[in-house]
Amino acid sequence: MSAEKLKVAVVGFGKTGMLHAGILSVLPRVQLVAVCEKSGLVRRFLKNLFKDVFVVDDVGELKDFGLDAVYVTTPIASHFAIVKGVYDLGVASNVFVEKPLASNYYEAEELCGLARRLGGVNMVGYMRRFSVTFKKAKELLNHGVIGEPASFSAYAYSSDFFGIDKNSKFHTPKVGVLRDLGCHAIDLALWFFGDFKVKNAKIDSLFGEDSEDSAFFEVETDDGVGGKFDVSWCVDGYRMPEVGFTVEGSRGVMRVNDDALELSLNGGGKFRWFRHDLKDSVCFWLGAPEYYREDECFVKSLVDGKNVEPNFFSSAKVDLMIDEVKAKAKNK
């Protein structure tokens, strides 16, 4: 690509859209050209807030801006329709979608088909792959520091709906806790250990039949590594959402979460790294350093014209796993 600034638009200006738009605005190779937002109230404010950014209400209108890339940061249920619209209408061939890719595997597969056919760079916002603790964990696993992994347990917890009165007026996201929060743990597990199959699963609804609030499931990887997942958004003490793993290997145990990484080796060696120890600095801090690294990585891949991980194809596997968990839980 030329040295001109890359023209980017953000679709959906909620929490995550605002965050990515803020980071994109400071990246030297990027120009935030337009924002697409469904809410009339938010749109009216944005028009008065931004002097040099166009604000539109329909994805089709983005076609006129000659965009290099589109960020899709709308609610999960709308990802499929919007990304499909971006491709079908020729809005841009390079697409970033906030995690997860879609609401189910069929949708994810169709988006992969479109991406394959139309080319371009695509990425899904599993930002924990850009966290210094999980990156270090992946590096140590690749180097066999704890030997061959034998088993793992993973959790993804938040207190978002802890202590909520069931009769009060509030919404749990319709997509459920697995797609909203659990997808992070599943994506990291696929990254760490490769493909796996779901052996059994249980899903609990705490806020009515349609609400999917906690899930527990067991898996086995293609290499025979057994894994357990525990996911909930109703756990006390998780002011910020947290994902963590304990991995038992032939030569030791590794514990990793968003804040720290610990190693206990069979020979007696113990090591611990906090974010401080792992060079967790970036050029611009918004939300968390991993968001900056993720956006920087996507932009770099646009400039280099190379694909990037996690992309649509690797992320579709997360949607497949979630569908399998749901199916197993339903059968049970």
Partner: protein
């Protein structure tokens, strides 16, 4: 006069159960002083040992603490530094109420029922004409009235700081006019405008580029020996600090979330120029006593 000396501020993170080192640590320890009565006691001990201010995000918890500090006549010994909005509470509310539009409706209702006439008028103007400045003024007036109602008439609200997330989003979007409007509003109220930022060096550069008078503002930013949360680096932040026209920076995260001892933290801060003061959270009576005694010795 307190403003002539260094500001030694009690921070409120432990009162919200926050540890930036790790959430796990705060869960395991389980000793976070989230009861307002105990938190107020810690603030009082810190004041006896050299603290002269309280820096807090405006939430139900901290408003309850302020109320107790007022009842116990501790508040008159303090300069208050309020941080708005309490981003965590609003992000959580957005998750529960269907995103930003749901959150906006909730905040609008709160302002409407607050009985603050100025805030309601400005808020209505803001909503009807979609004017961000009017809406910001309405929100600030509402938050200031909450602080004053809780802290009482003897309280000195010295500074209101924009929360890190808001400051940094506005920095990212180059909203210099919004920063200026915020500053004008606060200065009109006789309150120092402040900015809590995770991008200190970037903010200093931008304010210079926009010709915003850095003497008119207070900046709260991480400063610690290990460079924790100092973006893009400790060296760049120190360089930006040294370039300021006067000491108007409040150092936060000085313990690097518990990674450093208070002595290490104080030694580092004492060696920096243009530091107006520091904010430190304390979770035990012993911490409150020892930490502020040490900071008083090193910084005052």
């Amino acid at each position: 006069m307190i403003s002539q000396e260094k500001a030694l501020l009690v921070g409120d993170n432990p009162f919200h159960g926050i540890s930036h080192l790790s959430q796990e640590r705060s869960r395991i320890r389980g000793d976070m002083p989230t009861s307002p009565e105990y938190a107020a006691k810690l603030v009082a001990i810190a004041v006896e040992n050299g603290a002269n201010g309280f820096m807090f995000s405006v939430s139900q918890t901290t408003l309850s603490i302020l109320k107790i500090l007022n009842e116990n006549s501790v508040v008159e010994h303090l300069d208050l530094y309020g941080i708005v909005p309490y981003a965590y509470e609003y992000v959580r509310a957005a998750s529960q109420k269907g995103g930003v539009p749901g959150l906006a409706k909730t905040v609008a209702k709160e302002i409407l029922f607050s009985g603050n006439f100025g805030a309601v008028v400005s808020g209505l103007n803001g909503v009807l004409r979609a004017k961000p400045i009017s809406l910001m003024k309405a929100y600030l007036a509402y938050e200031i009235s909450r602080i004053k109602a809780a802290a009482g008439k003897n309280a000195r609200l010295s500074c209101v700081l924009l929360h890190q997330l808001v400051t940094d989003v506005c920095l990212g979007f180059n909203l210099d006019w919004l920063f200026r409007a915020y500053m004008d509003f606060m200065l009109d109220k006789g309150i120092k405008p402040g900015f809590n930022t995770g991008n200190f060096a970037f903010l200093v550069d931008k304010f210079k580029e926009w010709r915003i008078n850095l003497e008119d503002v207070v900046i709260a930013a991480p400063f610690n020996k290990v460079g924790f949360q100092m973006v893009p680096s400790r060296e760049e932040c120190e360089k930006a600090l040294a370039s300021l026209p006067k000491p108007n920076v409040l150092a936060i995260s000085i313990l690097a979330a518990g990674y450093l001892t208070p002595k290490e933290a104080a030694d580092y801060i004492a060696g920096l120029q243009n530091i107006k003061g520091a904010a430190v959270g304390v979770s035990k009576e012993k911490h409150a006593y020892e930490t502020f005694k040490l900071l008083r010795e090193k910084l005052l």
